[in-house]
């Protein structure tokens, strides 16, 4: 019998580094060359099935990157189990911004939060400003996961989410039940899961 876990994941990073595009690639395997800037916060879900058939369901909050809305971000990362902090490899300024977000998360988010630093736009390596070594070194110092991704080509996208899923504590029911309690999703996880476990596989696959 497979187990299903549910985690709240938040995406943070400078405006235009590709947060919404990364989510779109992960959730729908699509890419838009032109996307409007997110003014708000979008909620999406996607599941990852691990080798041992454990199903990890991510409740993803994709947040606005613009400075104007920075004060609202804590509302969306509270109770998050994991965070993906994105920078754009073609802009070193975005890595600086990512460092700010990481410091904020380390200070204010749940202490057990799993943080992944993600260098997006790896398809634009020709214009690279941030070397792999620099980012990797920083990630190691801070104890973060690290990867480069391309939402455009899809490279590295599902890998980073799978890696996060593996790193999450899959032993006890996650603490995210509170975070998702209002959502119907939370109800599914909280109540139905054990009772109707047999019915679960296959259903979530239909949801996306």
């Amino acid at each position: 019998m497979s187990k299903q876990f549910q985690f709240k994941l938040v995406l943070l990073g400078e405006s235009a580094v590709g947060k919404s595009s990364l989510v779109l690639r992960f959730v729908k395997d699509q890419f838009d060359d032109y996307r409007e800037s997110t003014i708000g916060a979008a909620f999406l879900t996607q599941t990852v099935t691990l080798e041992d058939q454990t199903v990890v369901k991510f409740e993803i909050w994709d947040t606005a990157g613009q400075e104007r809305y920075k004060s609202l971000a804590p509302m969306y990362y509270r109770n998050a189990n994991c965070a993906v902090v994105l920078y754009d490899i073609t802009s070193s300024a975005t890595l600086e911004k990512a460092r700010t977000w990481i410091r904020e998360l380390q200070r204010q988010a749940d202490p057990s939060i799993v943080i992944a630093l993600c260098g997006n736009k790896s398809d634009l390596a020709a214009r690279r400003q941030v070397t792999e070594e620099e980012a990797k070194k920083y990630a190691e110092e801070e104890g973060l996961m690290w990867a480069e991704t391309s939402a455009k080509s899809g490279e590295g996208v599902s890998e980073i989410f799978t890696a996060i899923a593996k790193k999450l504590p899959l032993t006890a029911p996650p603490s995210s039940s509170r975070a998702g309690a209002g959502r119907a999703a939370g109800r599914v996880g909280g109540v139905d899961l054990n009772k109707q476990a047999a019915a679960q596989p296959g259903q979530d696959a239909c949801n996306c």
Binding site: V27, K28, I39, G40, A41, A42, F43, L44, T45, Q46, W61, D62, A64, R68, Y69, S71, L72, M75, Y76, R78, A179, G182, R183, A184, A185, R187, V188, D192, Q196, A198, A199, Q200, P201, G202, Q203, C206, N207, C208
Partner: protein, 971 residues
């Protein structure tokens, strides 16, 4: 099996769970009895006869009751994608629901009968007799064990549905509304229309009824979407179907008769168009009374007693004269009420009556008196219904011509007396449907409006304990999905005649002084009503807060004493006079009520209470019921896809905010700025939004910004505008004057089942001298607009004696040759007031046109009036009243002029200076008047509530006014 279950789950919303699934097949309905075994076997093989029976249960949360239903589904192709399936029928489990099992009879010999190798066939029949048009269904199945599970689960759900509500508080009506989305593709559930929504819900704004949500916590989107949808359909159905309005005139009377039998003429109280007689303070019920009315001419020639009554009526009703043309009624009796509803309390005070009503003798006596009071118009009326609970009697009398329009008359009683049974306290209620007579409108099947009348005699705060159950009051034809037991609040229009033990929280002597003395003649009611305990309970949302009540312009109706122990007004010396007899009303948007009169009848003296009457006009919707049902069906279908969206709906529900950032520009006190934000549904399915606060403690928007609508439902491509309106009142100005940057905010617009959008709002606050503390005003280095920052103040020891803004106003009005006769009492030109305030804020000179030289005769009066009004408003805007709250009780207790002046030592420096300047000026205004005493009274009336604002109930209004009078009245 698992895939079947998960595919059914996919059809359901998240609040609904599959309990049991049974595969079965239809039995040919033409056969009447189960078909032969050979036929059934061959049919089972045919996929088209295959059905899925699913027992589904629903719960909104741990506090709400679980409800169940049997779904019959058909899969177009078994095992394929779930969107190929179809919900054929839905049988809610309640009331007349039954599911029975029977062995299939076999006409032909079956050799394998009893053999273990052959699974036996079983028939099951599902019935739900409470829903019209939902026919019984018989299915055939082999899955014996699963069928047992189905029966067990249905039994459990049926028991839940039949169980009496466990909560002592009124439980929300079980509506099975969660089934609507499943059946909406086929036919709307008529529950939305057969029973009006509970007024306690209907009268709350939709957004306040949604789940708790904030940024990052979406709340319960699934229940929210249903509430938004139901509201949308209700509103739209009426919008599209209403052909007009029918005006129904209702006269209500309430009378605590103190055990007496009728012994006096009741015509003033009962008689619709009869004008009340013999009192200077009751109001004429009908401002628009026509002298042509027969009733008038014969019964009530306008005698002199009417003159003061008319004057009062004008103020009570704001002089609102409605278009008197009513096409629905005969012109001759147009002013007579269509319905006369009279509530009596303490009809019978005898001991045995407390246990059970022994006879209808008293009821008959009172009814006779009522018809006698109607005089010759009695012929046009007859009794429609009555209900008695010991001492409580409710009588509904109707115009004969309209009698056929009333149907479904139900009544009930509720006792709150000893053990909830004794009839000494409690209520009686009558509910009826009114179907307007069809006149010119092409309405084949006119829809009806539910009117409910409650007559209650309660101890204070008993409203909550009074539970009415009006029995099965479903619509004609019984097409309701549930056997509806209505509570009285499930009405379109609801009237309460209520006798309450609420009193006036003012000392006994003060009440009598205010009611009786000349000094208070003009504002005795407005002075006392804020202390009325019912009004306080409503303000504090403790009781009756959903009800409206017309302005009271009659004397308290209790307690009168016929003997010697009475005051000049006839009130018992031992009981503080009180408005114990009230008429309250509430209605939904489909039956707006306008109160036409509210009066006491002091000439009817036979009881220790005086009777009260009130007249209302109810504007009932004229619509066609069938058209409304069709419209509802169409609207449901338009919303297809709204509620079965799944979690990953960002791609489907898609709103676009046309202007995500809004600059309000300059925002100033007393002026409004309005901006609109377009929200467009650019997705392919209907979708709803609601504004949510940033976190659970916050409000959705700052208090200085109004946002409308807070929630809305948009069809694809629909564009709605959210209107943002600034309104800087005294409270918000007091805050903003100190912190100008506080105007920036972000609104969070949550797409139900979708993303959150941010709307950034910015504005530049323009400070004002209004709504600053006296100590801040005296530390301003110059005009408030000249400040570079809000904290740029003089040192405390360098503050000036009194705010220059107040002194400028007083000094101007002390100028030569001004006519101050109407200052503070006549209404001011608001444009002029704004100009004066602007000059105070900027330090600019008052316009030269304001000087007496430059003004015409008319302006000469209006300019001082505007200055006076500005002074009043400036004093009223002070965050703490000029006389600090802590001193009110001591001030009110002063008994001499010297004592009053000594009180000033307790004021702080600026307070004393302002008090002395203002009262000296007021003294001058009074003494220079042609009528010094009248002017003094008028000014005390206006200024006391401002200078000694927000007094708690313990402080005597007489004493407070007295304190000011020490300063402004001549010795």
């Amino acid at each position: 099996m698992a895939s079947l279950e998960s595919s059914i789950r996919a059809l359901l919303r998240h609040s609904d769970q599959v309990k049991v699934i049974l595969e079965a097949s239809v039995v040919s309905p033409t056969a009447g009895t189960p078909v032969t075994s050979s036929d059934s076997r061959s049919q089972i093989d045919e996929a088209r006869n295959k059905r899925i029976l699913a027992v589904v249960s629903h719960s909104d949360g741990p506090t709400t009751q679980e409800e169940g239903s049997v779904f019959i589904l058909k899969f177009k192709s078994a095992g394929r994608a779930y969107d190929q399936s179809d919900i054929l029928r839905v049988y809610p489990v309640f009331g007349d629901f039954s599911i029975t099992m029977a062995q299939v009879k076999r006409d032909t010999l079956d050799l394998r009968r009893g053999s273990q190798a052959s699974p036996s066939f079983l028939n099951l029949t599902i019935k739900q007799g409470d829903i019209q048009g939902l026919e019984p269904l018989t299915l055939c199945t082999q899955q014996v064990q699963t069928l047992r599970d189905v029966l067990a689960e249905c039994k459990r759900l049926k028991e839940l549905a039949d169980a009496p509500p466990s909560s002592p508080v009124a439980p929300p009506l079980t509506t099975f509304s969660w089934l609507a989305p499943y059946t909406s593709r086929r036919a709307p559930l008529p529950a939305l229309f057969s029973v009006p929504q509970d007024l306690r819900i209907a009268r709350k704004a939709l957004h306040t009824r949604l789940s708790s949500a904030f940024a990052g916590e979406a709340g319960d989107d699934f229940s929210d979407i249903l509430r938004i949808r139901d509201d949308w359909i209700r509103t739209r159905v009426r919008e599209t179907c209403v052909k007009g309005k029918h005006r129904l005139k209702v006269r209500i009377g309430t009378f605590n008769v103190n055990g007496n039998l009728p012994s006096q003429d009741l015509s003033s109280w009962v008689g619709g168009s009869a004008v009340t007689r013999g009192s200077g303070f009751t109001i004429s019920p009908l401002k628009e009374l026509s002298p042509l009315s027969i009733g008038d001419v014969t019964k009530d020639p306008f005698d002199d007693s009417n003159a003061p009554a008319d004057a009062n009526a004008e103020s009570a009703l704001g002089g609102k004269d409605q278009d008197p043309v009513d096409t629905n009624t005969n012109a001759d009796t147009a002013e007579d009420p269509d319905l006369l509803v009279l509530g009596f309390q303490e009809l019978d005070l005898s001991t045995e009556a407390l246990l059970y009503a022994t006879s209808t003798f008293k009821e008959e006596a009172w009814c006779t008196a009522i018809f006698a009071a109607l005089g010759e118009r009695a012929e046009g009326y007859e009794k429609l219904a009555s209900k008695q609970l010991v001492g409580l009697l409710l009588v509904v009398i109707v115009k004969k011509t309209l009698k056929p329009c009333f149907s479904d008359i139900k009544s009930c009683v509720a006792g709150t007396g000893i053990m909830g049974l004794m009839g000494n306290k409690g209520g009686t209620a009558i509910r009826m449907k009114f179907t307007p007579p069809v006149a010119l409108e092409p309405i084949g099947n006119p829809g009806s409006t539910v009117l409910t009348f409650v007559n209650a005699h309660l101890a204070a705060f008993d409203e909550m304990r009074l539970q009415f159950d009006l029995g099965a009051a479903g619509p004609e034809g019984g097409s309701a999905p549930v056997p509806v037991t209505c509570n009285v609040f499930e009405s379109d229009a609801l009237f309460w005649m209520v006798n309450l033990n609420y009193r006036i929280d003012v000392p006994d002597a003060d009440v009598r002084t205010i009611l009786g003395s000349e000094e208070w003649a003009e504002d005795r009611f407005t002075t006392l009503l804020p202390y009325d305990q019912l009004k306080s309970a409503v303000r504090a949302n403790k009781a009756f807060d959903m009800f409206d009540e017309g302005p009271i312009t009659h004397l308290p109706t209790y307690r009168f004493n016929a003997g010697l122990l009475k005051d000049d007004l006839g009130y018992d010396l031992k009981r503080r006079p009180a408005w114990t007899d009230r008429v309250l009303f509430a209605s939904n948007a489909f039956a707006p009520i306008q109160q036409l009169s509210y009066a006491g009848h002091p000439q009817i003296t036979q009881s220790d209470h005086r009777p009260v009457s009130a007249e209302f006009r109810v504007e009932v919707d004229l619509f066609d019921q069938s058209a409304a049902e069709k419209a509802a069906d169409r609207l449901y279908r338009q919303l297809n896809g709204l509620e079965d969206a799944h979690e990953d709906t960002n791609a489907r529900v898609n709103l676009k905010i046309m202007t995500p950032s809004v600059d309000l520009g300059k925002v100033s006190y007393g002026k409004t700025v309005t901006k609109q934000v377009g929200v467009k549904n650019i997705g392919k399915v209907p979708c709803a939004y609601r504004l949510v606060p940033i976190d659970v403690e916050s409000s959705v928007h700052p208090d200085w910004l109004k946002v409308e609508p807070m929630t809305a439902l948009l069809l694809p491509d629909e564009l709605v505008y959210i209107t943002l309106t600034t309104s800087i009142d005294n409270a918000s100005a007091a805050r903003l004057n100190i912190d100008h940057t506080a105007l920036d905010c972000t609104l969070i617009l949550h797409t139900v089942m979708g993303k959150d959008h941010f709307i950034a709002v910015t504005g530049e606050y323009v400070p004002t001298c209004f709504a600053n503390t006296l100590s801040r005003l005296t530390r301003l280095p110059g005009p408030i607009r000249a400040l570079k920052s809000p904290s740029e103040l003089l040192a405390e020891d360098r503050s000036i004696n009194a705010p220059r803004e107040i002194m400028r106003l007083v000094n101007w009005m002390m100028g030569p040759d001004l006519d101050l006769e109407n200052v503070f009492v006549s209404p001011a030109d608001s444009g002029m007031v704004d100009t004066i305030r602007e000059c105070l804020d900027t330090g600019a000179d008052f316009p030269s046109s304001f000087s007496s030289a430059g003004a015409g005769a008319n302006a000469k009066d209006s300019v001082p009036i505007a200055f006076g009004e500005t002074l009043l408003r400036l004093l009223d805007a002070l965050p703490e009243p000029l006389v600090p709250h802590a001193l009110h009780a001591r001030c009110a207790g002063t008994t001499s002029r010297d004592e009053a002046f000594e009180m000033l030592d307790a004021f702080d420096g600026a307070g004393v200076n302002v008090w002395i300047s203002v009262t000296a000026f007021l003294h001058y205004v009074c003494q220079s008047s042609k009528d010094p005493e009248g002017r003094t009274r008028a000014i005390a009336r206006v200024f006391t509530p401002i200078l000694l604002r927000d007094s708690d109930a313990g402080v005597s209004p007489v004493g407070r006014r007295g304190f000011l009078l020490w300063f402004i009245r001549d010795t």
